[in-house]
């Protein structure tokens, strides 16, 4: 049992590992554990009692009940604990395994925090293992490519400058068929709201921009979208372990809002991008919270619905269940607002158990889905736990306000033949809202 028994071939992992030497490995180990990490890693390593209480926390270990190498502590033992125990003297093959665990078998969803009496942050340790692997270049091909895209064009999907503006204008054009006076205001200085999205939206989920524009238009808001780099709030660099680039991306995002002198940034239905602005990227830049207020879609929709700017004449009549994305519930406490929004939109809500801050991860987040096709089977097999939970609700519709969650949930719904459909809040609001300004 262990990662060596389930090695998955990945182009860049193999290439990068072939170039490793004991000296390089040791140097990266020293840099990460002594140069960058501090008291938290040291105390966590020493006070982890190896009690195994976290085994029941992780969707990977719940889905593989007979294999202890999938438990949070089991994964720590094969990665960071092993590195520290052996003072960084590990073989390139072992580094391969560590990368495979850190990038594809831990979503950093932090559910295990609720199980650890000592208060050990396993997700944080995984991020340090990724940092170590990143310093050695041992990163799965697909996610590394998205990080390279960030470095080159400041967005995740190699979207070029003209393509971005073109996509926005295209969606404006489309939407004007329905709402004649609709605009997607670009670069409007001093607007109330700056709307930022993740690069996959212009790339292949363009209808989400259409829907957002429709909602903004219907609510009569003073909003704008940026034309220049910084428009992509996503952050794969945070997930590969490229902290320097993560910092640049967040600075770019915040500075874009400051340049446009907007009151606040409203962010699309994304989990990890939100994590990068309130938890990781801001810390790297030295902000305790954020230099420009950032509001997640869940909070934003809650405002629109409670203030009556958007009216729902008839609720969605089929029963739905709610998936709590870790980054905005366990990560930011939006579970109550999420429920209130869903109840304002839907007649019948069937809750999953466990839910709210104890939510079981979608198994796509934390960069895992971004590791691409080679590792798809890992996350689908690793999330039988969520599939069972979904099946137990017996409903057909699933609300999940996070792009990664959508991807991961759709994959398990397909694999386990659950016959469910995933919905963004934006989908439901666009579908159900009163369209007073439509033709």
């Amino acid at each position: 049992m262990g990662i060596a028994d389930r090695r998955i071939e990945d182009g860049n992992l193999m290439q990068a590992v072939a170039k490793l030497t004991p000296e390089k490995i040791k140097a990266a180990y020293e840099l990460v554990t002594k140069g960058e990490a501090g008291a938290r890693l040291s105390t966590y390593y020493q006070s982890c009692m190896r009690c195994g209480m976290c085994a029941q926390a992780c969707h990977f270990s719940i889905s593989h009940p007979d294999d202890p190498s999938y438990t949070p502590v089991g994964k720590m033992d094969q990665t960071m604990w092993k590195l520290i125990r052996q003072k960084g003297e590990v073989t390139p093959d072992e580094v391969y395994g560590m990368a495979q665990i850190a990038y594809t078998e831990c979503n950093m969803c932090k559910r295990c925090v609720h199980y650890c009496p000592v208060g050990i942050d396993t997700g944080f340790i995984t991020s340090l293992v990724r940092r170590f692997c990143y310093r050695l270049g041992v990163v799965p091909t697909y996610i590394l490519d998205t990080a390279h895209s960030h470095s080159a064009v400041m967005n995740q999907m190699w979207v070029k400058q003209d393509e971005w503006i073109d996509s926005l204008i295209w969606q404006e054009d489309e939407a004007r068929g329905e709402f004649p006076n609709l605009r997607v205001p670009l670069e409007k200085e001093g607007a109330e709201i700056l709307y930022s999205v993740i690069a996959p939206e212009p790339k292949f989920r363009t209808q989400l921009i259409y829907q957002a524009a429709a909602i903004m238009h219907e609510a009569g808001l003073d909003w704008t979208m940026p034309a220049l780099p910084g428009w992509d709030n996503s952050d794969m660099c945070m997930f590969v372990g490229d902290s320097e680039m993560m910092g640049r991306l967040k600075r770019c995002h915040y500075e874009m809002a400051q340049r446009l002198k907007v009151k606040r940034i409203v962010m699309g239905e994304c989990g990890h991008a939100f994590r990068s602005v309130y938890d990781t990227g801001n810390r790297w830049l030295g902000f305790k919270d954020w230099p420009v207020p950032v509001v997640h879609s869940v909070e934003f929709f809650w405002e629109l619905l409670t203030t009556g700017k958007i009216k729902i004449p008839k609720k969605f009549d089929k029963p739905v269940t709610i998936h709590d994305p870790c980054n905005i519930t366990r990560g930011y406490g939006l579970m109550d607002k999420l429920r209130e929004v869903v109840h304002m939109l839907c007649d019948k809500v069937v809750e999953m158990s466990p839910n709210r801050e104890h939510t079981i991860c979608c198994c796509a987040g934390g960069g895992i889905i971004n590791c691409g096709p080679p590792f798809k089977s890992v996350r689908v097999a690793g999330n039988k736990a969520k599939a069972d939970q979904l099946a137990a609700t017996g409903v057909e519709y699933l609300v999940a306000p996070c792009h990664n969650c959508h991807g991961g949930l759709e994959d398990i719904i397909g694999h386990y033949k659950l016959g469910m459909h995933t919905k963004f809040l934006g989908d439901l609001i666009y579908q159900l809202m009163e369209k007073t300004r439509a033709e």
């Binding site: 008291a39 020493q46 579970m335």
Partner: protein, 219 residues
């Protein structure tokens, strides 16, 4: 052996207290200094309210998701630590030490209760050993270090019990009790047992980060 016992309860005892105290202070101080150097965010997020909220919550048996999901471990952990602390402070033999050495008559547990608590601690050690051997998730991550500290903590209790019951050579058992307890004291700052001094801090930080940044309970 008697001479060794006098030495163990004399100079060696003071030395182990000194190493334990100085070691703990040094370890905590160096961690605080390291956090100040590397992780200022820890200071930024630390909050008294959220820290104690988390600490008290986790001190409540079955008060957290982790405790609820592991009922046997919850009973074992709480019984072990509670009995250990009660015996450390109020074992009748320890009270006699306070009385004889410092003229302090402190309250002590009745003999029968102290004996029972000792058996409970021994049983908990056996339970922990059983988990390390038979529960796959625990067995997978158990190292020699974990066995060593479990044995180290087990020794003072089994020897105290045997000495009290006058089974085996009483002098040897009493000596073993004193020496192993001193070894535990010395080991606390430098081994896995350092959770005794660090866990209030790790718990407090987790409580603060979840309360202040994540707006969400950490249990």
């Amino acid at each position: 052996m008697q001479t060794l016992y006098n030495f163990a309860t004399g100079p060696l005892l003071w030395a182990s207290f000194a190493i334990f105290l100085a070691g703990s202070v040094w370890r905590i101080y160096s961690m605080i200094a390291l956090a100040r150097k590397k992780e200022m965010s820890v200071y930024a997020y630390m909050s008294w309210g959220f820290s104690f909220r988390s600490i008290f919550r986790w001190l409540t048996p079955f008060g957290t998701l982790g405790w609820k999901a592991n009922p046997a471990m919850t009973v074992g952990t709480f019984a072990f630590h509670l009995c250990l602390l009660l015996l450390l402070l109020f074992a009748p033999g320890h009270a006699e030490m306070w009385d004889y050495n410092f003229g302090l008559a402190i309250w002590s547990l009745p003999e029968w209760l102290a004996d029972t608590l000792t058996v409970v601690v021994i049983a908990c050690c056996a339970f922990f050993a059983f988990r390390r051997l038979r529960v796959p998730a625990v067995r997978y991550v158990t190292t020699t270090h974990d066995w060593a500290v479990l044995l180290l903590v087990f020794l003072p209790f089994i020897s105290a019990f045997l000495a009290k019951m006058q089974l085996g050579n009483t002098l040897f058992m009493t000596l073993l009790h004193v020496l192993s307890a001193e070894a535990v004291l010395i080991a606390i700052p430098f081994t896995r047992l350092s959770h005794a001094i660090f866990s209030p801090f790790t718990r407090a930080y987790m409580g603060s980060e979840f309360g202040g940044v994540r707006h969400c309970p950490d249990w």
